[in-house]
């Protein structure tokens, strides 16, 4: 009943992460940890070499599997933070103190270790430059990870070409508790400064540094009305974060007039959900 791999058409062009690579995409692979980078007090980025990696699309994730010496296994999903254009893949993991998998990835794993994973997975919550804009990205907490892959992909493809950048104007609204919890802080500011077609709006919900000029509250409908593209421009919207935030933002955007078909959501949750959780 199930056919694996490509049944015919050997001359077909293959887009990374597309269905024609299914047999390669679902195999478990042993990646090697090249580096573990501290992003925030609770988050680390794992930079991995994955032999035979078929490539991915921004927004996709991998499943990670840990095996204890008695055979016990635990599996979780993590969004890919790196652009498809990078040779290595990067996963940014936030440690949940009572998580089973995340503390291992953030505290125990080190360069030289191997990590079992499979992917890329997920064709629903993906964006590529070819899909066009305007693009509106909304992130809550660790939900920034797949959206950062989209921004990095956009930068990699469009940096040299100003006209192309203007064709895909992009806005990011990113909610975090405190400045120290903002992932990729050092990268986001220059990315926005160097590119007049990219706007980054941050909101801090718990505490802000002195002189903070960004938003200082939970994302609400008023903030979305201010930051989002007008519905008439039919932006492609990607919302990623904890379930309550995602559902409230998606509801508010639809109430503001955005077409639900253009609002894609990825809820970050415990027990094997996509994105950096548990």
């Amino acid at each position: 009943m199930v056919t694996r791999g490509v049944s015919s058409g050997t001359a077909a062009t293959r887009e990374p992460g597309s269905s024609t690579l299914r047999s390669a995409a679902i195999a478990w692979r042993l990646a090697t940890v090249v580096d573990v980078v501290t992003e925030t007090p609770r988050a680390r980025t794992l930079v991995l070499d994955v032999p035979g990696w078929p490539g991915h699309r921004a927004g996709q994730h991998v499943d990670v599997r840990l095996t204890a010496d008695d055979g016990y296994q635990a599996e979780r999903s993590y969004s890919i933070a790196s652009a498809p254009e990078d040779a290595r893949i990067a996963l940014t993991v936030q440690r949940l103190d009572d998580g089973e998998v995340s503390p291992y990835l953030t505290d125990v794993l080190r360069g030289g270790d191997r990590l079992e994973l499979r992917g890329p997975i997920g064709g629903y919550f993906v964006w590529g430059v070819a899909l066009g804009g305007p693009l509106f990205l909304v992130a809550g907490g660790s939900g920034i990870v797949p959206l950062m892959a989209m921004l990095r992909h956009r930068a990699a493809v469009l940096t040299a070409n100003s006209d192309a950048r203007h064709g895909v104007p992009t806005r990011l609204l990113y909610s975090s508790r405190r400045w120290e919890d903002v992932f990729y802080r050092a990268e986001l500011a220059p990315l926005a400064e160097d590119d007049e077609t990219l706007e980054v709006a941050l909101t801090l919900t718990h505490e802000a540094p002195p002189g903070w000029t960004g938003f200082r509250r939970l994302i609400d409908r008023r903030m979305l009305a201010e930051v989002a593209w007008p519905p008439a421009e039919r932006p492609k919207v990607f919302v990623c974060g904890p379930t309550p935030l995602v559902e409230a933002v998606a509801t508010a955007l639809v109430e503001l007039g955005h077409d639900p078909a253009l609002v894609k959501t990825e809820r970050v949750g415990p027990t094997g959900g996509s994105g950096s959780a548990a």
Binding site: L30, L66, T67, G71, Q73, E100, Y104, V108, R114, E116
Partner: protein, 208 residues
């Protein structure tokens, strides 16, 4: 790869220790109380909540929340075992014994039958032999650890049948329906074991 890969330094949760003897085969003890849900959490107000014992062919016995609370309650200290391999020891519940409810239902003319189907808010169902909910084996629980059951853990009331895998302890229970013939519930109709005895490790249909 001839040798299975092992993640350096990974322990995982729930390693059986001194309490190993109380764990059914294949289970791990957990100090947590994982919340597993197959659907949105129902939130029925107590003012509209009722509990029904429905006969196979007609009359039902019904209790409102106040009437239910007026029935004799028991405190139960028991171990619970989830088919997903976690077990929690010494959990303390308070509720009404199914024996009390069965006796009450009988006086109200509800005709019993060999099987029951528990029906919950949100549509979840699970089936059990009558023999497994009678004789001090089952309760409708309203408190956990001395505190009213929260919606996430099945409140206001859930079934508690600790001698079987915990999916049989239906959260948000609203009805017990007597059935002449056994009828598979939500997980039983998907491939999980019809009976679910953790001590015989009856997790999936086809397990002896």
């Amino acid at each position: 790869m001839t040798e299975p890969f092992v993640s350096r330094g990974f322990r995982g949760r729930g390693r059986p220790g001194a309490t190993a003897a109380r764990l059914p085969p294949g289970q791990y003890e957990t100090p947590d109380f994982p919340v597993l849900s197959a659907g949105p959490t129902p939130r029925t107000p107590l003012a509209t909540w009722d509990f029904l014992f429905r006969g196979a062919d007609g009359p039902a016995a019904r209790w409102t929340w106040d009437e239910f609370q007026a029935l004799p309650h028991e405190t139960v200290n028991t171990d619970i075992h989830c088919v997903t391999k976690w077990s929690k020891l010494d959990t303390i519940w308070e509720g009404v014994s199914l024996d009390t409810l069965l006796a009450e239902a009988a006086t109200r003319g509800v005709k019993s039958a060999p099987y029951v189907l528990a029906v919950s808010d949100g549509g979840y169902t699970t089936n059990l032999p009558l023999a497994d909910v009678a004789g001090g084996k089952a309760w409708v629980a309203v408190k956990y650890q001395g505190v009213p059951l929260t919606p996430e853990h099945g409140g206001p009331a859930r079934l508690l049948v600790p001698h079987l895998y915990f999916w049989k302890s239906a959260k948000w229970v609203r009805q017990l329906r007597f059935m002449e013939h056994d009828e598979a519930g939500f997980w039983e109709s998907f491939g999980y074991h019809n009976y679910g005895d953790p001590w015989r490790e009856q997790r999936y249909s086809g397990d002896p």
